[in-house]
Symmetry: C3
Subunit: 269 residues, 3 copies
Amino acid sequence: LENKLITLTTDFGLKDPYVGAMKGALLKVNPGAVITDITHLIGAGDLPGAAFVLLGACRYFPPDSIHLAVIDPGVGGVRAALIIETARYTFVGPDNGIFSLALQSEEILRIVRITNAEYFPGPISPTFHGRDIFAPVAGHLSLGVDAGRFGEQIDIDEMEKIALPEPSLENESITGEVIHIDNFGNLITNIPQSMLDGLNAFADRDRVIVRIKEREIKGIKDTYGESADEAALCAITGGTGLIEIALNMGSAADELRSKAGETVKVVSV
Amino acid sequence: LENKLITLTTDFGLKDPYVGAMKGALLKVNPGAVITDITHLIGAGDLPGAAFVLLGACRYFPPDSIHLAVIDPGVGGVRAALIIETARYTFVGPDNGIFSLALQSEEILRIVRITNAEYFPGPISPTFHGRDIFAPVAGHLSLGVDAGRFGEQIDIDEMEKIALPEPSLENESITGEVIHIDNFGNLITNIPQSMLDGLNAFADRDRVIVRIKEREIKGIKDTYGESADEAALCAITGGTGLIEIALNMGSAADELRSKAGETVKVVSV
Amino acid sequence: LENKLITLTTDFGLKDPYVGAMKGALLKVNPGAVITDITHLIGAGDLPGAAFVLLGACRYFPPDSIHLAVIDPGVGGVRAALIIETARYTFVGPDNGIFSLALQSEEILRIVRITNAEYFPGPISPTFHGRDIFAPVAGHLSLGVDAGRFGEQIDIDEMEKIALPEPSLENESITGEVIHIDNFGNLITNIPQSMLDGLNAFADRDRVIVRIKEREIKGIKDTYGESADEAALCAITGGTGLIEIALNMGSAADELRSKAGETVKVVSV
């Protein structure tokens, strides 16, 4: 079965020949592949950052899409190269946990360790597996080659996982942290809206208090525009279902001088 | 009638999952859509900046292209969501004036306020209409769904407009301003070459003087290379028909320490 | 013969309407063209930088691809516009040497100076040949129009060349320089691994010494991870076959405060 649609996520940046070379190598195998960039601006070797972006983007693509991601600190060291087949998608990339979060909402059918060099006949640069291994493998997958032909199946327990910091709940108080600062200066926390949904203390969203860096934000709103005071910080449920701290018409990150890792507390009054 | 070609203009930046999620949501509706990025680096919420970029890019695309743009400060507040059909194109985006300049050269046939949730069955994040409303709507339009099915037609007067500062003419002197600084450091003014064309005082282009920040530039040239002195500032007619101030092999913006909003005067000697 | 695949390399940046306008102009001629970005972040007018990126990316694309590149300092001055047909590809761009390095591994069949305005019927902005000449020409080439129809054939000696600094060999010591700093802070030199291959003095790669800025790096490794000390600088053979200086899990450029042009010596002990 042909799956023409391939998404691409890397930390290669946009000024070097690397992204172009990788796309070329993929198109050389399947000139009919349709490549869609998710991003190439993952921080160099930032595995949690990659996991977060893949979480926020992969699930919106059509069924049968191939998600190819290459964030590969150290490159060609000891880590394996994987194909992960789920009920909806095929994920391809290094075995270092970057797909951990995206896979939480997928049903894993099969995991294959890529070893069959027939599908990446080389030469192989030890420092550019994206171009020389992953791109041709994704190309062959998009032509309908069965994942089983690329190597041996492995167990889900053998696959690397990555853990983002988990929010904790104690005495009706949730403690989490900022995991990402987006293009708008919104502080995205690791606290899902769904964590509040089950708790009586947070039933009235207007009585929820979000604390960050000595500041108190009252209520969790639906949109940036709902806040009475335009210049005030607000807490909202973001597009990925996580609580975000935002500043209407401004940057909450600048206002709070906050970075990823900052502690965030959610309590009720 | 199927229109596969869709351009995309946003202020989402290139490092977050937002652009990928939006493209995925569009491709989920029409996997055969061909998406071409105009830019995702519009300043956050910069409506005039978006209007300028759309002016400079949209009209070069083939007839029947769909121009989807999401610069949406405040998101999901009171503003409507629009489909604007013109003789050549279909524009889709929030009703906040971003298409005002691009529409000046188009013949508007129909404007529809998007309300029919059949085409964006949700869930709808209040802060991410790009992914949850505009992308699927553009996907359905690209499949040939008639614009009239998305909601009620409105009058052109009901649509938001945006006005860039207009240049003024007094005593054979034109006063305008810098509206954009491009990648090369060229200062793009709001003064169209066509404004000079009709005036006798400016008939001899070599006798035109352009004044900015105490500096005088003599003549309006055709190319950067025409200037006698390589290191001198020059005034040229840029690719969008507007007068630009440039520095051959350098950045006029750096040389003049100039920003958008800077006053520019065009006089004759 | 139709060649749908077109790569695009420019110094236009990603925030202006220029890339979009150029893609639009190309798609207007051939709506079925498949455009793949190599990069738009070549430094403004940086011809050697463009030559390096094209070297690192073009050869990985499928045969019959069209490589369109517009880095054009001065624009529309005296330089010609060229189509260069090789055994594998078609290159299109200004005659200023940007393809020199990429052409080293191609067999040139024909070089045509573009003059036939039938294929770019205008209007032509003197400062935007990318949109008004090169894009429509590439569009017609992708539709299968023979290169000979765009103008007269010229000799290879009439084409501009660009020379990157060449490494020199004296007394079993190679002197080269840093030509590019990539997204990971790797310093890419102009010294090809193949230059060492032929020399007895460098037969044992562990006894090779790379000197840069008073620092000595021992051995040339295959991967970043091979080094004993994680925080130590290492020398490796990069993905384009050139010697690179890297810092595992860090930026060699930051560590060495090095820039393009820095002298690099390779000796043996």
